[in-house]
Subunit: 345 residues, 4 copies
């Protein structure tokens, strides 16, 4: 059994990790920390876990955490980077669901997160854990930076187009939409049901923290610096991300090759589903599941490739992908704990 | 492996059976029928099942069904009763999720369902499958009538009060609320998102088909004919039922005994969770799970017992309870396939 | 033109007052206060008001307010009672949308609101402003306590039954459900979209602040102290309240008289609509409008009267009723500013 | 008083016309037709209209309609074009909310709507009624083709960019999202709450009927044939459209001029609101109102102009714009009946 610790367990990614790990046969959760809720049983905060866990939240303690085989960080940015040197020194392996170790360029990180980075050494050593791109490095990594929710949906959809060089990398557009759980579980007025319900809007349209992460990932796939426009939107629902991606095909004749290109790219990927050309993936088809489903479209004789890509922001966009990364790191079957179908309707 | 057939698989209870059975270790689904969609792969209609099933819908055929160990009926009322005699003669076991075999009194059945009952023999032999009440009979039953969604939430919440005789059985009120999936997957204008979204209303307040089923179950628990008022309401959401139940305690001093009474009644029930006195169960705490969670309340010195009871209408209110019944019928661990926690948020 | 001031304008009742007053021909809003947002144009906070108001929020100042013909308080409880003596002394008229002056018994008030009442003199003089009950007193009142949202829906539905003495006043049950805007616009975790969306629950089932207000109003209508159980629920939507009311008819033969009784009781009421017997009022049929719609039901030969009553919690349950009260106080046509139909769908 | 008839009044645009016309001082609705519901009072179908209309649906009759000053068609496509010649001959003026007269090129019309056009003469004479573009022609038109919902949001947002020639007209992208009422009020399974609720998806991504209409309007604004990609999405809510528009600025230095360009373009438009640069218009800020609100964005030093544009699909996207057109046609104040602010929250 892999002994797991979770830091910052009171948020939505915390409870989602617990939910997924319940059905994982090879894992035991030995501690889950929360400064604010120390002492409270997790099942009191999250009644869906009643009968599944006896665990209570505890004060974060590096020694206890260091004794785990793996620690998940489900914290706001700025927390993991401070605790990382000590944990790394102890040899503990970590999957960090926060943004602390996602960006290579720490100046960019500092600019977008409003503070200097405090663990540059580990920022360099961290593996950006998108399994569909760097599975081998994840296997041996001590520290995996779990990708953001939007960046997962956007990168997976663009990957085959950029890796193949078939599209103009300077003209990428990602119009993405997310349910409200993506904003986390903090008492912000703007995220009240009374504000979010029955309404739709763009946000962060002039610049969102996931933009540099997306640009970094896409540039790596393309082999050149890409030009990408990314606009997130808030959907009046709880879970799910849909990203509609637009790219310009260099040679319109290549349209005929695209479906096969995508299917081949993801043929061996257990969690990426290329649907038939012209399909419309629904977010509910991945609700609670670790899948990314996507489909290709073309309008008349246009040279614009349209990709619609959906994930559950809390699963493939956070806790599920973290467990997938853990499975890879510990040489387990990659789908362990992640096999149940999505909840539809 | 238990060989299972599903009749009428295109509705919400059909897809939910498939979803649950995916993770059931001892079951294989050998056929799923649909007149209207024969030939279509189930994963084309329900993309959450992509990668989980190769099965396609087939024309209903009694011979094929009779060769199964168990057949689930997920059909509108009136279908199962016509096919039942032949299946029963063949020795096949059945869990009927429709209303055909739920009522003892076939005159009442005919009145509420607007047609004469065509299988009175099996209506008499059928076991009304609420495991928390008749587990032993289910074990050996050939035909189990799976309870309705509202009746499940309402009966479980009232059971300890009626069995103990502590409340006046002539003054029961059940104010129940359901998500829209309870109405099934038919193209009715009244169930459009444009009609249901952002609105709330009672319906069937002058009489709903689940009323006689509720009355039958509560009367059996009380040992006398009860007087019960049942008003269902439509919530602008997809899944979940909450029932707020009101009963008058004969002796207000008994209030102190109620929490223990409930806890004892359900102590060994794997799917009934009595929460601490004064809790407020949320439908999301059982979303996708086979649990019923309930809690007791009292207002000041009132003699009115308030019980709030929640289930997922498609799980404990339909497909989950059907699988629970199957597990009991085949001497499997009762919780097989039903162990994952609810999806929250 | 009536010169109006609004205290505490940043909440949902504040913006709703502004929305309604926009189309009121005889009113001009001369000031709207907010400590936290002083200086901000109201249209910056509430973009639906862009083009309708040039006004900015200002610091609350009693002198400025006293110069108004009418001041609306749209504040949390505890604010209005402190400013009231000075405003009353200045002769200013007030409609208080908060709970400060709703209860006659100040010990009960202190118990439920957790502080002593600071303006007992005006608590005694205040008129509880349910126009359908005390229109004449409102006309001449200096201070009107605007009823709460639940109490409005519940009282209107029970009124004819209690005034006529046809039901047992000791056995009243009010099962009420509200959209999330009823909780106001404060950054509480429990009211996040991620918590409220796609879920349903009871809350305050052991006692809610509107219970004593409901009991006071119903007791006055019945002429005796009533026994009433009131359980509120949270609907995953923004606006609207539905209350399903249960009462026991003393003489079942009276059922035949009930529809006429209700229609006669509200015949001259511009905002109460008794729908045909057996109807199911929807909250959307009153969205944005000052109407209360209700309908009666009976189940088979039961002696339980069922009333379903719907209002928009922000309109007839708050700002609309406040404007209705203002119209009465200033001898205007009672429906001024409140004539547009509800927004459906 | 202008005597108005409505053909096809049972859908969402029908009830919305009735709602708006209730508060219009210069209009009387003399008939509203429905083949399926003839004889039913409109207030029985739409209870928000109880107390506002005595009218019942009647069989469509050209003579009666011809006696109106203005007839609104709120019918599915294919109906208006058949009745138009007779009405036009009678001199009746018409605003057609259906798609029948929106496209100039009738081959394109036939291709997208699957039938030959039956009134080519009037298709040529019809004025495409986007007031912000052709107000003068609307004034004297006998037949106005009311623009579609998506085309309204998309055209208004692109107009200043195309008219000014500042962007590349061959690379326009419109990523649009709509609430479910846009699909009308027909019993389609795909539009059930159980299907639409808590989910998000693109649809019509390979080609939607509004694409040729959008292309026609944008090409006219640009003075050249534009290349536009248009992907609609379905939001789990009832009302509202948000369109995020992407265009490539020929000269990035022009970014500084854009806000002024937009403000000047719409300075005199009563229903178009250019919000401050970097704002995020919400659909709820126009719910129930005839406004289009929009805002501009730029990401870092990109040359991509981002415009977010919101309307209520049933108001500025249908019934409200139709009333605006009527006001123009009859030389009334353009805002009559359309002055109330949006319903927020």
């Amino acid at each position: 059994m892999i002994k797991v610790g979770i830091v910052g367990g009171t948020g939505y990614t915390g409870v989602e990790l617990l939910r997924i790990l319940t059905v994982h046969p090879d894992v035991t959760v030995s501690c889950i920390t929360s400064r604010s809720e120390a002492g409270m049983p997790v099942a009191d905060m999250y009644p869906n876990l009643r009968g599944h866990y006896d665990l209570a939240f505890s004060e974060p303690d590096v020694k206890t955490l260091a004794a785990c085989d793996l620690v998940f960080f489900a914290t706001p940015h700025g927390v993991a980077m401070r605790m990382m040197p000590e944990l790394m020194a102890a040899g503990t392996r970590v999957v960090d669901l926060s943004a602390d170790f996602r960006l290579r360029d720490l100046d960019v990180w500092a600019e977008w997160y409003g503070m200097p980075h405090e663990s540059p050494e580990w920022a360099e050593k961290a593996v950006y854990g998108l399994p569909e791109v760097v599975r081998d490095k994840i296997r041996t990594a001590q520290l995996v930076a779990n990708p953001g929710c939007y960046p997962t949906a956007v990168q997976l959809g663009f990957l085959p187009l950029l890796e193949s060089g078939l599209v103009d990398p300077s003209r990428l557009i990602a119009d993405a939409k997310s349910g409200a759980s993506g904003a986390g579980r903090q008492g912000k007025i703007g995220m009240l049901h009374g504000e979010v319900g029955e309404s739709f809007k763009a946000y962060g349209a002039s610049g969102h923290r996931h933009l540099p992460e997306i640009r970094q990932g896409l540039s790596q796939a393309a082999g050149v610096d890409v030009g990408v426009t990314f606009v997130p939107h808030l959907i009046p629902m709880v879970r799910g991300i849909e990203a509609t991606l637009y790219a310009e095909l260099r040679n319109p004749a290549d349209f005929d090759r695209l479906q096969a290109l995508f299917e081949n790219r993801f043929r061996d990927e257990p969690f990426v589903d290329v649907m038939p050309f012209g399909s419309h993936p629904e977010t509910r088809s991945v609700r609670g599941a670790n899948n990314c489903r996507m489909a290709l479209h073309r309008q008349e004789q246009s040279n614009i490739v349209i990709v619609s890509s959906v994930i559950d922001n809390l699963v493939k966009g956070a806790a599920g992908q973290a467990v997938q990364n853990m499975n890879i790191m510990f040489d387990l079957k990659e789908t362990l704990g992640l096999e149940a179908p999505a909840l539809l309707p």
